[in-house]
Symmetry: C3
Subunit: 380 residues, 3 copies
């Protein structure tokens, strides 16, 4: 297992190909104080409740299980000791040791989050892998709006920016789930409606983009490029309304995009992952992602992976870590995926439900091959 | 276990009575080409995504586990080899061998699906069992509409057709979940509203029936007969909007029908099966069905049966396969039910949570006795 | 294990501190006939379906597993024999024997249910523990309305009654989920709106309180006291609309109360316990409760506890039984919690996912320490 060997080591030898982490974020470059470190263990955006700590979560326990041995400490050592060792090594060496042990070969990095974060190449470089960019649509629009002369100029510039991004990025991502919820009108908005919405938004100083007309416009601009579109669904930060992030709410958009040739990748999904699996099972262009869900649920990762595998076709499920800020989250996301996969497929082959050959093939599909095919990464 | 013996054999000897499959569809009579075969492994209605196959699903793997041995091949043999063997035997012999091995004694066949399908007697005959008809309300109404002179004539004819059907059918079924969603006004529609809706529908050439007034009218016509009413809930074909098929949306209709003496059977339910179990636990006339859910989830069938058994009273849960088109789906549905039941109840008796005597009794209830009581099938 | 020893005995010796049952109801004082006994095994409010019995449920089986040995009978003995023995001992001795074996040291009793029920001190006394009161807001308002002169007088009296209750009660509880559903406007209602609603309600004779303005007014009166507020969410009696009791519907109220300093405890939660865990993970003042859910799901309690522990921070999950009427439900609730906790944490330590020291600490948090901190109970 990844975390049992002291110090950094080679990628785990469990028969899986180098992982493709098809959705993650960069690593914070600087030194982190303890509060900043623990804040990245949770999706909460404030301090923990009095008398509690973010280390007392599955994420905290998983970090303490898998990461201390990679820095030369015993698994489950106290948080303070781990944090002290981390400071001793410094952020660059910590990052290098941790990322070297994940066995992730390819990183698809959503570059739309704020902070002094490593980009795709730098993230991948620490682990000896390859990086690609995923462009977050709302962040792109907000950048384009800075200094836009008027609505026409903005609309043109946005159109160009999306098409430009499609030349180098491997995918787009929308966080409409956060900004409005997924119960969007599925149709491309009419040009007039877009212009009216743009004018109003720019007149207000282009604040955080939440207008559903603009969110839909971004989605359809991205769909037109043919690049896969990642959609946040399910749990996340507290500015999200969970029941408005049920991927089943996307059904009409899924139908509306069925003939475009563009793939939709439902990110995270929890606790609506069975709904996501259903959509992936009946719509050819829909895929599901296990990231975030496995990374944050510790020893429950196997049970959740099994729930994903009820309806999701095996060619439709994709590994990711959704790691953000801490290199520890790459370690945990990869280690939990590996152990969950081994547990679930081991159980199914032991009872004869699956053949060992099929299990090996499906493991590779989820770990890497599906992502290679969907994002056109080549190799294998 | 069903699938381990080479060639067709007697029903499994696991202590269960002959199964009552209280919801299934006929078997396709003719030869199937490979694409038609694989299309029946999924609820999707188009081709699989590029680079994927419908065999790479729990349903596909389950067919490869349980069915090849019944046709003289090793379990998990490649799809092509299985399909070749199937062609070699021909559809009649394939059907005979497969259905003979399910241990299903009684088939309640929903006759409302299109295609050259076996009817109740013919379906049951291949396996040496008994067949009964379940009448799909929307299909009945669409048939009655053909050649209806006017709205009055149609309404009268429909009324007679439902009452006629109740004399021979064991149950009715509604697919209002597909046609409108389950958030229906729970009250019987007023006669005036029905006539207005009928006139509009007939004037439009009586297309696929989706008018909520007519769907409610059908439900209440069926309820008035006293025959159990099966309601599609949960997942299914892609023309369904999943979140509109949550059985919790039926709560008001459940309350409105509480004093009618008619039982409601919630079909499939997944991923809202816990909601269905709750309704079955607090409303005497509500029952829940495991079909489709177990048939399509392979080695997850045990976990899902266990989830059904959290709140569903043991006298309220019914086995079915929801098999449609392929005799393989009867094999898989029955085998997964048997293995899931043995695993779940075996576990609960091993820990002392249940007594072995209770486990045996509850197994027989779900397998057959509950359906016999609800549908008035007699025997045991 | 609790139920294996013949006759009443000391609290189980599994390393847990005396349990804090942070949400339960009193025990019926009088003799119960068989129908009244079985009616308390279920959340249904009428007789069981023909051919079924409420004993054929997880609750019924769990009572038969854990309780007969405490009354000198073998586990899983037939219901009739158990009921006969119960009558032989009489209600007081039955209660004494059963409650003595739970290991519950502190009872937080919701006193808002009708019936000849033991109060906090009497409930706790039978088991040698301490009792505290939880005041149900809607019942309090309905009591205050009796004899209220006019709207002004009622509003003043209610205000005083809530503040008075806060001096002695450890918490408030709202059943807005039953009365209206949880999709409430999150803001405190304006005084004018409250007065209008009160006038209309009193003019109608102050029937069962269902006006959403008054329900919100009660919530905000309670929040202003600083006492924790328990909110019914998830399943319950059949007068509840399940999909309107999804705790995710409370998100806006959770946000609106974030800076009040008052904690919100989401009761029961099933089948939306993953949603509850998410809310507890991102909002510091939100807690989740396992009661009712574990008590009614028998050998599934471990699986459900594990699902709660996916996202719920370990300092945010609270044990309860939600026992009502029958002392058996305290036994079952406590025994299922103990066995579930031992199974889940035993599994996670066996695989190395958790350390044994952490597992022991988290077990004590859920069993007692979290409730002691949230309700300010002192001790440990």
């Amino acid at each position: 297992m990844t975390g049992d060997a002291p110090g950094p080591g080679p990628a785990p030898d469990d028969g899986l190909p180098p992982l493709v982490d098809h959705h993650c974020h960069g690593v914070l470059r600087g030194e982190l104080d303890d509060a900043a470190f623990t804040a990245h263990l949770t999706e909460a955006d404030g301090p923990p409740a009095a008398g509690t700590t973010f280390f007392d979560t599955q994420t905290g326990f998983a970090v303490r299980r898998w990461c201390p041995p990679l820095l030369g400490l015993p698994a489950h050592c106290p948080p303070d000791r781990y944090l002290a060792r981390r400071r001793e090594l410094g952020p660059a060496e910590t990052r290098r040791r941790l990322l070297a042990a994940t066995g992730i070969g390819t990183y698809l990095v959503d570059t739309g989050l704020p902070g002094d974060l490593t980009g795709p190449a730098e993230t991948a470089g620490a682990g000896g892998g390859t990086g690609h960019e995923v462009v977050r649509l709302e962040a792109l629009a907000e950048r384009v709006a800075v200094g836009a002369r008027d609505a026409e100029a903005f609309t043109d510039a946005l159109d160009h920016a999306v098409r430009d991004a499609a030349r180098t990025a491997v995918a787009f991502k929308t966080v409409a789930a956060y900004r409005h919820g997924l119960a969007l009108d599925p149709r491309p908005p009419a040009p007039d409606a877009v212009h009216t919405a743009v004018r109003a938004w720019l007149a207000a100083g282009a604040p955080r983009l939440t207008d559903p007309v603009l969110l839909r416009h971004l989605v359809w601009l991205a769909v037109a490029t043919g690049r896969p579109l990642q959609l946040h669904t399910g749990f996340g930060d507290p500015d999200l309304r969970l029941d408005h992030a049920d991927p089943a709410l996307l059904t009409d958009l899924v139908r509306a995009t069925a003939d475009t040739g563009t793939d939709l990748v439902l990110l995270h999904c929890y606790p609506y992952h069975r709904q996501a699996g259903y959509l992936a099972s009946v719509f050819p262009h829909v895929y599901a992602d296990i990231g975030l869900t496995l990374t944050h649920t510790g020893p429950r990762a196997a049970a959740l992976l099994a729930e994903f595998l009820e309806l999701t076709p095996f060619g439709k499920l994709l590994f990711s870590t959704d790691a953000y800020g801490l290199p520890e989250l790459y370690v945990v996301g990869a280690a939990l995926f590996r152990t969950a996969l081994a547990a679930v497929l081991g159980d199914w082959t032991a009872t004869g439900a699956w053949s060992a050959a099929d299990a090996g093939r499906v493991g590779a599909l989820i770990a890497a091959d599906n992502a290679r095919r969907v994002y056109g990464l080549g190799g294998g």
